[in-house]
C-alpha cells in the first residue's frame, strides 16, 4: 500500500472507533521513515537530540493528517516538518542566549513548537542549501537534472541511471554530469 493509502486506512479505522487497526499501518510508516529522518537530523543536531527531534517530527506530521489539514505527499510532509522542528531547536537555543541577557523577555523556550519559523535555516546551512539548489537549477538540460536525481540524490549507480535515462546516455556521461554538478556546487559554496 502507498503512504497515502495507509493514512486513509488509519483515518477510516479511527473514525470507526477501531484504534487497534491503526497499529499496523502506523508501524509501517514510522519504521519506514524513521532511519532517514534520524539520519537527516544527525546532520544538523547533536546526536543525543536527533532521535527526539525526529520523534517529534513524526508525531506532529502524522497527527496533522488527522486534524483536517491536507498534507499532500506524506514523505515530503514528514521531511518538511523535520526541518521545521530542527529550525525550532535552534530558535529555542537562540532565545536561551537572548533570555540569559534579557531575563524579562523570557517566554518559554518551547513556545516555538508547532509554529512555523520565519526562516527554515540561517547561516552556513541555509547558504549551502541555496547553493545546492542553484547548482541544480543551472544544469542546462532536463536530462542532466534527471541524471542528478537518479545518481547523486537517488539510489542508482551511474550505469543504472544511464540505462534508465536512455537516449544514448552512457555511464561515463552520468559520471561527467555528476562531477560537473558537484564541482559547481563547491564553487558556489567556497
Amino acid at each position: 500500500m502507498s503512504d497515502e493509502e495507509l493514512v486513509a486506512y488509519m483515518r477510516a479505522a479511527r473514525e470507526a472507533g477501531r484504534p487497534e487497526a491503526m497499529k499496523a499501518p502506523l508501524a509501517i510508516l514510522v519504521f519506514g521513515y524513521w532511519d532517514s529522518l534520524v539520519a537527516r537530523a544527525r546532520l544538523r543536531l547533536p546526536p543525543a537530540e536527533a532521535e527526539d527531534v525526529a520523534g517529534e517530527a513524526v508525531a506532529s506530521a502524522i497527527a496533522s493528517a488527522f486534524d483536517g489539514r491536507s498534507v499532500g505527499e506524506l514523505r515530503s510532509w514528514l521531511h518538511t516538518i523535520l526541518m521545521r522542528r530542527i529550525a525550532d531547536y535552534y530558535e529555542v537555543r537562540k532565545r536561551r542566549v537572548q533570555t540569559t541577557e534579557l531575563a524579562s523577555e523570557h517566554q518559554g523556550d518551547e513556545d516555538v513548537w508547532r509554529r512555523e519559523p520565519a526562516e527554515p535555516f540561517e547561516g552556513d546551512a541555509l547558504f549551502a542549501s541555496e547553493s545546492l539548489a542553484l547548482a541544480y537549477r543551472e544544469l542546462e538540460r532536463d536530462s542532466h537534472r534527471r541524471a542528478i536525481d537518479l545518481y547523486v540524490f537517488g539510489p542508482l549507480s551511474a550505469a543504472d541511471a544511464a540505462a534508465s535515462l536512455g537516449g544514448g546516455m552512457t555511464e561515463a556521461n552520468v559520471h561527467q554530469i555528476a562531477s560537473r554538478f558537484q564541482r559547481r556546487f563547491k564553487e558556489l559554496l567556497a
Binding site: 491503526m22 544527525r42 520523534g55
Partner: protein, 213 residues
Amino acid sequence: MTDLERLLSEYKQAHRASPDADPAPYLAQLAGAEREALSQLIDAYLARAPRRDFDPAAFPASPAASAAEGLQRSLAGTGGLWPALLPRLRTQARLRRSELVSELAARLGAQSRQEKVARYYHEMEQGLLPAAGVSDAVLDALGRIVGWSSDALRRAGELPAPGGPGAAGSPGAVFTRTATPPRGGGAESRDTAQRGEPAEEEWDEVDRLFRGR
C-alpha cells in the same frame, strides 16, 4: 573521483545496506566547505529516500516502535499528542514518573492527594484524559517541571478526538464545566468507571484541575 564523490557514494552504499547508517563518520573525513557540501548532498539523498520495507523482526527493538506506540495512543485517545510527547519530555527531564508526580502534586498544592494526581498524570500520558478538561494551572506546573510552556503543552493536546467534532468523547461533549460531582449514567460516569475510581468519591480540587478546566 574526488573525496566528496567517493564519500557520498560510500555513504549511500552503507545506507542501502543498513538504513540506520550514521553519516557522521563520513562527514568527519572532510573539513570546511567540502564537509558542508557532503552534508548537503547526503541530506538531499535522505530526503528522497523511499520508505524502508517493514521488517517485523527488527521493528520491536527499533526506536521507531516506541514512537509508533506513543503516536497510536495519541490517535486513539483524547489527549492529542500528549502520549507521544509527555513520556519523552519526562525522559529528557531525567525524572521517573513518581518523581514528576510528586513535584506536580506539590506545585498544585495537592500533596495529600498525590495518588489522584498520579492517576490523572498517567491518563495524560496514555491519552485517556481529554486535553480540553485539563486546567492551565496543571499545564503551567507540568511545563515548569519538564521545561515547556503551558501554551505549547496545550497546543500539543489539540488533536481532534476520534469520530470528529461533536462525537462522544470529544472535548466539547465530555468537558462541559460542572459545579457538582458527575453522577448517573453520563459520559463522565463511564470515564470514572473505566478508571476504576469509586463512583461515590467526592469531586475535589484535583478533579477540577484535571477534568473541569
